[in-house]
């Protein structure tokens, strides 16, 4: 991608506020929607807006990952789960008033903490953010396989074990139970 966006541009500002507004509205739909399918679609919008923010920051690699993993993977999984299980179609029991109040309170408290923490902090990196790395994807790839100081080759290798464990676990959970000699109904 070759469009370099300058934070001072008017188009940049407009794009930012459009994305911000859309993602807030969509996020509200996620939590208030009665049908889980609608919530899933709204979630996809929120995540796409997230990818938009990364593009505004010139981190197109992270934006790509966001689109691939979250929009392309997780939202699709949710949609599949909704389609395969009819009982999930609508949320039956609305939460009680006390729970709603507790949820509202804890999310507002979290929001307040986050807003205060971020607005009161002068980030040490904010001054150099003007000079963006040109090839973020290349840099991330190099870092992941870098066995020198500051490289992440070990986490990269260890994550493969995490993936293996998840795959095995998923198979154990999902395997066809109708096999003889397997499990008693006690």
């Amino acid at each position: 991608m070759d469009i370099t966006l300058n934070p001072a541009d008017l188009t940049h500002t407009i794009a930012f506020y459009t994305l911000a507004l859309t993602s807030i509205v969509a996020a509200l739909i996620v939590v208030t929607a009665k049908r889980i399918f609608r919530a899933a679609v709204a979630l996809a919008v929120v995540l796409i807006c997230g990818a938009g923010f990364y593009i505004l920051l010139n981190y197109d690699f992270i934006a790509g990952v966001q689109l691939l993993v979250y929009v392309g993977g997780i939202v699709i999984l949710i949609v599949f789960a909704v389609m395969l299980t009819s009982s999930l179609e609508s949320i039956e029991e609305p939460p009680s008033l006390g729970r709603k109040a507790l949820g509202l309170f804890s999310s507002l408290a979290f929001l307040a903490t986050a807003v205060i923490a971020f607005s009161e902090t002068k980030f040490p990196l904010s001054s150099i953010s003007a000079e963006q790395p040109k090839d973020v994807a290349k840099a991330v790839g190099r870092k992941l396989l870098d066995y020198g100081a500051g490289g992440y080759v070990l986490p990269f290798e260890v994550i493969s074990l995490l993936l293996l464990a998840s795959v095995i676990g998923a198979i154990v959970v999902a395997r066809n139970p109708k096999r003889k000699n397997e499990g008693s109904a006690t």
């Binding site: 464990a165 095995i168 676990g169």
Partner: protein
């Protein structure tokens, strides 16, 4: 590729590598019809090999991968705890799994991967590696909790643990991200070195980050108020898995907490008062709620919450002596808690049992040896001399008094007096309650016997020679200062 000059030392990772290789071998052999029976043997072999490599590493202080891996006395001691818990829970698992007809090779592979994750967690100063280790530990545990797929309670345990665990991971990651925002590093050594400049530049980010990290690990170790998943998960999971749960992930969580709080954020004084409250709540709620349980697994779940509280006391006091006593206690707890669960597993292997107190009546006359061992483990949990439980509590609470936390010590001692009631209830049910129906015979085999011998020797041995073991834990802790 030229790797010379790169700080890659795979011999450092031999314990982890041997676990991974045996896990792969179990999965590969599990495809064939006859290979399915090798799961148990290979799993045990992998754990013992890893234990041997870890013991061999004892006393070394080496870092590899440019500080991503650190093998010091601290990580070695923790790795020994994880591997012992793995070996004991594997020894008691096979008989149980066969009786419930869920003996599949994946079980052993998942246990191995989970322990691998714990070892990764305990051997790093880097928050990213600690997080990846935590996930490698947790994902197999979610599956293991629901391993008894035809038991609705086991399913419930699996799903509950999964959702709560994912939630906790979210908190932890958010916290790590905030700490990174404050210092632009995830390396605890850099954080410890630059703490004061970080605290000056971005104090709020740092506090919020550490608080979120504490919440994340609070879920994992079962500290109150993040404990609500523990009783249901402990009760629903297959008993050998519960045995493993009660020690492995808890110890791993404490390993990470000790490194993060006692090393990385050692200079953050405010953390002490937060830990104080957590410790008091955890001891009080765990011990008091345990009084009202009718199910022994549930009772032991609350008891394990209370024990996490005692270790939190050690963490609150901080410093070499206190943390060493916490390590000693954790080692002892590994033995006596697993011993209690081993006997519970043996009892649960019979049909139609639900680990209720009433099922223990008449055990002493039918199986006097087992009942005596159960009594020893209960005395240990309650903290009677000369068991490891007594000296552990003694060291922790006297350390608290020396550190000026007199009220903390008083509350701790009082709550542990409360605990005597419910532990002795087990002993009374075994020995002194008249049975209205005959006690159902249990089957013993060499593996179960071996597990019982290891745990009993450990619980008593640590108690009979406390000073040499406390020196060992002191050495372990001193290595990372």
């Amino acid at each position: 590729m030229n790797l010379s000059g790169a700080n890659i030392d795979f011999t450092l990772l031999l314990p982890e590598i041997s676990l991974a290789i045996c896990g792969f071998a179990i999965l590969l052999l599990g495809v064939t019809k006859r290979g399915k029976d090798f799961g148990f043997g290979l799993g045990l072999f992998g754990l013992i090999a890893a234990l041997a490599f870890t013991v061999q590493q004892w006393g070394t202080l080496e870092t590899g991968f440019f500080g991503m891996v650190t093998k010091d006395g601290f990580s070695s001691l923790y790795n020994i705890i994880f591997l012992l818990a793995g070996i004991i829970s594997l020894l008691i698992a096979q008989t149980y799994l066969r009786a419930k007809k869920i003996d599949k090779p994946e079980y052993y592979a998942l246990v191995l991967f989970s322990i691998l994750g714990m070892m990764v967690m305990a051997s790093s100063y880097d928050l990213i590696i600690i997080f990846i280790g935590l996930e490698i530990m947790s994902i197999p545990l979610y599956v293991l909790a629901g391993f008894h797929r035809f038991n609705p309670k086991s399913n419930e345990a699996g799903i509950k643990y999964f959702i709560i665990g994912a939630f906790a991971s979210g908190f932890l990651l958010y916290g790590i991200a905030l700490v990174y925002g404050a210092g632009a590093t995830t390396d605890l050594r850099l954080i410890a070195a630059n703490y004061h400049s970080m605290a000056q530049q971005a104090p709020l980010l740092l506090y919020a980050g550490v608080a979120l990290i504490l919440i994340g690990f609070g879920f994992k170790v079962g500290a109150v108020p993040f404990h609500m998943w523990a009783p249901d998960v402990y009760q629903g999971a297959p008993t050998p898995v519960t045995a493993f749960f009660s020690v492995g992930p808890k110890a791993a969580g404490f390993a990470a907490l000790m490194r993060i709080l006692d090393f990385g954020f050692d200079s953050m004084d405010e953390i002490q008062s937060v830990l104080w409250i957590l410790a008091v709540l955890t001891m009080a709620v765990g011990n008091i709620l345990a009084l009202f349980q009718d199910n022994i697994k549930r009772m032991l779940a609350y008891s394990s919450i209370a024990h996490a509280g005692y270790i939190l006391v050690a963490l609150t006091v901080g410093g070499e002596g206190a943390v060493a006593s916490g390590l000693y206690y954790l080692l002892g707890y590994t033995f006596f808690n697993l011993g209690a669960f081993a006997i519970l597993t043996i009892l649960d292997t019979r049909d139609g049992t639900d680990s209720r107190f009433s099922e223990l009546t008449g055990m002493a006359s039918r199986h006097p040896f087992l009942a005596t061992l159960l009594a020893i483990f209960m005395f240990s949990l309650a903290g009677f001399p000369p068991t490891a439980g007594f000296f552990g509590k003694l060291y922790i609470f006297s350390g608290a008094v020396e550190g000026g936390f007199i009220w903390l010590a008083i509350i701790g001692v009082m709550t542990s007096f409360v605990s005597v009631y419910y532990y002795l209830r087990v002993v009374v049910a075994c020995f002194f309650t008249k049975a209205d129906h005959p006690f159902q015979q249990v089957a013993m085999n060499p593996y179960l016997a071996l597990a019982l011998i290891i745990t009993a020797v450990g619980a008593l041995g640590l108690g009979l020679f406390p000073s040499s073991w406390i020196d060992l834990s002191r050495q372990a802790f001193a290595s990372f200062l």
